[in-house]
Amino acid sequence: MRGITKRFHGVTALSDVNLAVRAGEIHAVVGENGAGKSTLMKVLSGVYPHGEYEGAIHFEGSERHFGGIHDSERSGIIIIHQELALVPLLSIAENIFLGNEPTRFGVIDWFAAYAKTQALLRKVGLNERPSTLITDIGVGKQQLVEIAKALSKEVKLLILDEPTASLNETDSDALLALLLELKAQGIACILISHKLNEIAKVADTITVIRDGSTVRSFDCRAGAISEDQVIQAMVGREMADRYPKRTPDIGDTVFEIRDWRVHHPEHADRLVIRGVNLHARRGEIVGIAGLMGAGRTELAMSVFGRSYGRRISGEVRLHGRAADVSTIEKAIAAGIAYVTEDRKGYGLVLDDDIQHNITLANLAGVSSGTVIDDGREFKVASEYRQKLRIRCASVFQPVVNLSGGNQQKVVLAKWLFANPEVLILDEPTRGIDVGAKFEIYTLMAELAAAGKCVVMISSEMPELLGMCDRIYVMNEGRFVGEFAGAEASQEKIMRSIVTAGAV
């Protein structure tokens, strides 16, 4: 791709971007959110057809003018989006051949489809029957189905947009291994990711995009590239420290969960949380580590007004007294806030504006009786906009148009305004860029300094190690380890997960 420039209504999203992918290499594209990675991939895959951008796309030696996704797919360029495009209630085979069904005399030849599917699944190392429904397999396997689908179309260049964002470590590793295998077969791959450690494992070349232009390209084959070098190129400044400095001032125990047990909402006899004990003290940041599916979100949500599960038993204590958290309203009133891992699905009313989202959990704070005081609401929203540095035109802007980091700040602002004592943050930095991450870490440090309890659930161990005073390790519904922040390490945490599974 040479000299790609793309404008939206006069705003330049990409300016003079160059990207060269060699046959059979894994090329990582990194950059902060909003840097223009996705836009660039949309240009390449024909989502923005030829003529809507400036510059040229060369593929296999000749210039291509893609009029749409169909054109690019026919040339062998296939993009797999972050949000998977599979139909949940259709089978694997039906999904793989959706829109591309093998037919005989206009009738779908299911025997051929199933046979081909079986071959493809073997290729991607997925051990499932072609007739299995997509809803019945996990996200990691779904990702593999997407790749199998791409393979069915004779892919030459595979574009993966944050493929491991919602995968646990085992699934991520399997996916990366598959990419290396595809590479050996001569399939080139563009990998968009925020996870630099994964990129370091597989990438041959790393291209950094910042503010719509290519900043730097690293050739990794010559020798390992340090993460700091890449991060520096991404943010355009020396990142002296990825986590804010703080001196913890830890007081008495404020928040306690005792012998917490939760059953699955649909399968009532399945125990999801198996007797968890947790405590958090004033001014402390407590981490919960664990793999995807360990039950961390389920634990947090069941504590927060029983918003997950049923047949819940156990006790939640605040300041040494049993607290009533039987409904979300009561949990909020008791001083607990839960910041969801899924901000679009559970955190925000996307079409509504920033101001209304910020005040939603504490409307009483801006109203007299049941009547909302517009002026007070605006003042509150403006204060949080300033304090959290939410980048927006005004607080009347719909949150749907904000970047991931700014959306996350709006969700945080909502819960800060509810003035909780215990703040449970579930994957607070997922899918947001390095700069915004730092701001969120700083905010957490400030909250702890102000005497709140912060409980942080995260799948990114470095941030747990960087931020937490104490880390619990969760696996299969129970805590299997507890480390003080200073003595914890990735190896120790992993070991406690692995050994717990073996028992």
Binding site: H9, G10, V11, F304, G305, S307, I328, E329, I332, Y338, T340, G345, Y346, G347, L348, V349, L350, D351, D352, H356, L360, A361, L363, A364, S367, T370, V371, I372, D374, G375, R376, F378, K379, S382, A393, S394, F396, K414
Partner: protein, 393 residues
């Protein structure tokens, strides 16, 4: 939109952002002007204007409730049948059992609330899609009104009850050619509106909020005042302000207030916009859904009473197809079928767009066949323009 755009045309940005609101009003005025010309001035004659209000009152009243239901992310198909059922109930109580109209009215409103509660219960607590629950309700209450009336028309209602729809506010100040009280009431409302708007604006500027540009503010409110005064003057030169107009206006102001200024209104928008996020923010989403249906039931009962009083008889076919006009009014008025979006004033304007078209086309002698075709196309066009604008942005 970039900053340069904004500074180049100081008002263009604002106009664009609020096109929807002004657009609705402008299209209503345009439609009225069109029929005014086509009907050689019949449309805005005092008599016809009064009829227009009377004919549309029950649609407007139900549109207020339907808007809340739609904003909450549901739909209510049963309101037409409920109108018929409540009319039948009122007729049985007042005509056959000879009850006084006050207890009869109260029983009817209670019945409406119960109907709404029954349907809302299934929708809110059992998560059965409202489309299905209220489709069932539509059949049930149509059947029940037939059963209540035993297939007959029942009437006439006592004269005191008829005043609900055929009465006008009394004229204490005298005046035969011009009902002065009515005119004065209209002028008072206009002044009250100006006072309220000025206060709101002062409050906005005091808190440093970006208010609409001054020329827009003045122009918009002058137009409103002119319309209200002209409207009440027209009505005053016939029989004055109809009672039902007063009821309608009060309800309209009440629901506008509830939706724009209260916590319960805000929570309904949040519920419709993203139910899961609303629930996790402490909103009692199930109870709120339930409440919108109870409210809808009560308003359908009010409409049923108004309609029965207007016809002065209860017939088994009363209310048939009303749900379509009511739902269309909400969507023409800018409500979103997926919930979370819509305004009370939009729904009211939408109801009047439908009403003026009905009335104007009838005066022009267009048959009921093509009237329906045209109304259907207008609904589609209104929603199309909405979706198109949204996409462009």
């Amino acid at each position: 939109m970039s900053d340069t755009d904004r500074s180049a045309h100081p008002y263009a940005g604002f106009l664009k952002a609020n096109l929807r609101e002004y657009g609705m009003l402008i299209s209503l005025v345009a439609i009225m002007a069109f029929f005014q010309i086509m009907t050689d001035g019949t449309l805005l004659q005092p008599l016809n204007l009064t009829n227009l209000v009377l004919q549309n009152s029950y649609i407007v009243i139900m549109a207020l409730g339907m808007l809340l239901v739609i904003v909450a992310g549901h739909i209510d198909l049963s309101v037409g049948s409920v109108v018929g059922f409540i009319g039948a109930l009122a007729a049985v109580l007042m005509v056959q059992f000879e009850w006084h109209f006050v207890p009869a009215t109260l029983v009817c409103l209670l019945a409406g609330a119960l109907i709404g509660a029954a349907q809302g219960w299934f929708v809110a607590f059992f998560r059965i899609p409202s489309f299905i629950v209220t489709l069932a309700g539509m059949l049930v209450f149509k059947g029940l009104s037939l059963a209540l009336l035993q297939g007959q028309s029942v009437g006439p209602f006592p004269p005191t009850f008829q005043l609900l729809s055929s009465g006008f506010i009394p004229d204490w100040l005298g005046g035969e050619a011009l009902r002065t009280t009515s005119l004065l009431a209209g002028i008072l409302v206009a002044f009250a509106l100006i006072a309220a708007k000025l206060r709101e604006r002062a409050n906005q500027t005091r808190h440093g909020m970006e208010a609409e540009p001054y020329p827009f503010f003045v122009a918009k409110n002058l137009v409103f005042v002119a319309i209200i005064v002209a409207f009440s003057w027209k009505l005053a030169s016939y029989k004055g302000l109809p009672n039902v107009l007063i009821i309608m206006t009060l309800l309209m102001l009440f629901y506008d207030f509830v939706t724009t200024r209260t916590t319960i209104g805000r929570r309904i928008y949040a519920l419709g916009g993203n139910e899961k996020a609303a629930r996790l923010s402490g909103v009692k989403t199930q109870w709120l859904s339930f409440a919108t249906f109870v409210n809808m039931g009560v308003l359908a009962a009010v409409a049923g009473l108004v309609f029965a009083a207007r016809l002065n008889t209860a017939t088994p076919k009363a209310g048939t197809g009303f749900e379509l006009d009511v739902i269309a009014a909400c969507f023409i008025g800018g409500a979103s079928a997926s919930g979370g979006v819509g305004k009370v004033l939009g729904a009211v304007i939408g109801a009047f767009v439908m009403g003026v078209m009905n009335n104007g086309m009838s005066i022009l002698g267009i048959g009921i066949d093509y009237q329906q075709v045209i109304k259907g196309l207008v609904l589609l066009a209104a929603v199309f323009v909405d979706v198109y604008n949204k996409r462009k942005n």
